[in-house]
Symmetry: C2
Subunit: 192 residues, 2 copies
DNA sequence: GGGGTATTTGACCTGGAGGTACAAAATACG
DNA sequence: CGTATTTTGTACCTCCAGGTCAAATACCCC
């Protein structure tokens, strides 16, 4: 019935995510968004209400894809400890290997927008909860298999790991190499 | 010989710090800076080369005053453990009590500018080092007095605490209340 | 192949960012 | 008291952010 759109919104949202992830919300211009996705601002604003609307889509995409991709590393074979450790070390390596030092988009958003943008704040908070839940699942599984003491407070440990990972991703922004960060991982795991 | 300036540069830098702290670098306009400090942009650009120049002064001021003020809490009476715990709990409370959720300016800067602004990145990194050193001093003191086991790796623990505090200040951006954060503090202290 | 609908393109608009220029004002010094 | 020197405030400038709109275009369906 109507002219079909040339692009897959999904693909555009992903491109937008890349840009926002790298430059932040305020640091990204509609101009650049258009260029990177290969469409004019007109089309852009026709599909997404506003820069902010697009940002929400992009952040949601991050939660549902990028973040999930990382947490999937927890499903690798090995003991609970190994998997928790493996995830954190892998993220350290990824963060340091990124020449742009993008870090975690949810954290970046929390820092930039928390308290001033409700929608963004909620999404970031959701990602924190999601990550904590993933840690909790691994810990509880470790307890069921007897690898980890049942007496441990699994929820408290999950929160600690969430917090640790969050810290790592911030320190990773300025870190020169991995030694300090890896040492942090090994030290925190001593509470288990 | 010449007309004297009406304002104390120190006071102006502090005002600038407040604004950058709250709204970030990109989110702050010269306009607002001028208004908040009560002088025209003319004077402003006459004294500080550029928005970026002023930002560097503001960030440096943060490191040398705000940050130092917080770390001074480590000097309160009590055991090493109590002082470490006390600092983290105090910061949690401060962060949650702030309606603007400004968090830590050095962390905010690392997130926003790391990898794209060398001067800012270095200053933020310096603050991380400074914080870690303060933790290390307390831990080593605890070891000297026999409160903490000499077998502990003091440097590793200091890094862990730096990382923990960093995480807390990020999670504090979206946290509704202190329970999760306080639990993190108590859990991490179990490695001692 | 023409109608109806939706998308695209590019021109256009307003406001404000970031900064400069310059004349007027205020001092210390001779 | 006049002058050199610096600060101040205002006006001004250019550029781009963020967004809107009209016309041209492409498709589906009959």
């Amino acid at each position: 019935m109507a002219r079909p759109r040339k692009f897959k919104p999904e693909a555009v949202v992903e491109k937008a995510m890349e840009v926002f992830w790298t430059k932040g919300y305020a640091g990204t211009t509609p101009q650049e968004l258009g260029e990177r996705m290969g469409l004019g601002r007109g089309s852009l604003y026709n599909t997404f209400d506003s820069k902010h609307g697009l940002f929400e889509h992009a952040l949601r995409h991050y939660l549902e894809h990028e973040s999930v991709k990382l947490l999937a590393l927890l499903k690798q074979p090995g003991s609970a400890r190994q998997r928790l450790r493996g995830l954190m070390l892998a993220i350290i390596r990824l963060d340091l290997a990124d020449p742009e030092r993008r870090g975690c988009m949810a954290i970046n958003t929390a820092i930039e927008l928390a308290g001033r943008d409700e929608a963004a704040t909620k999404l970031a908070a959701r990602m924190f909860d999601q990550t904590e839940a993933a840690f909790l699942a691994v810990i509880e599984e470790g307890q069921r298999t007897g690898e980890l003491a049942a007496s441990l407070d699994a929820e408290a440990l999950a929160s600690l790991l969430l917090n640790t990972l969050t810290g790592l991703r911030v320190l990773g922004k300025t870190a020169q190499d991995a030694t300090r960060l890896e040492r942090i991982v090994d030290t925190v795991l001593k509470v288990f």
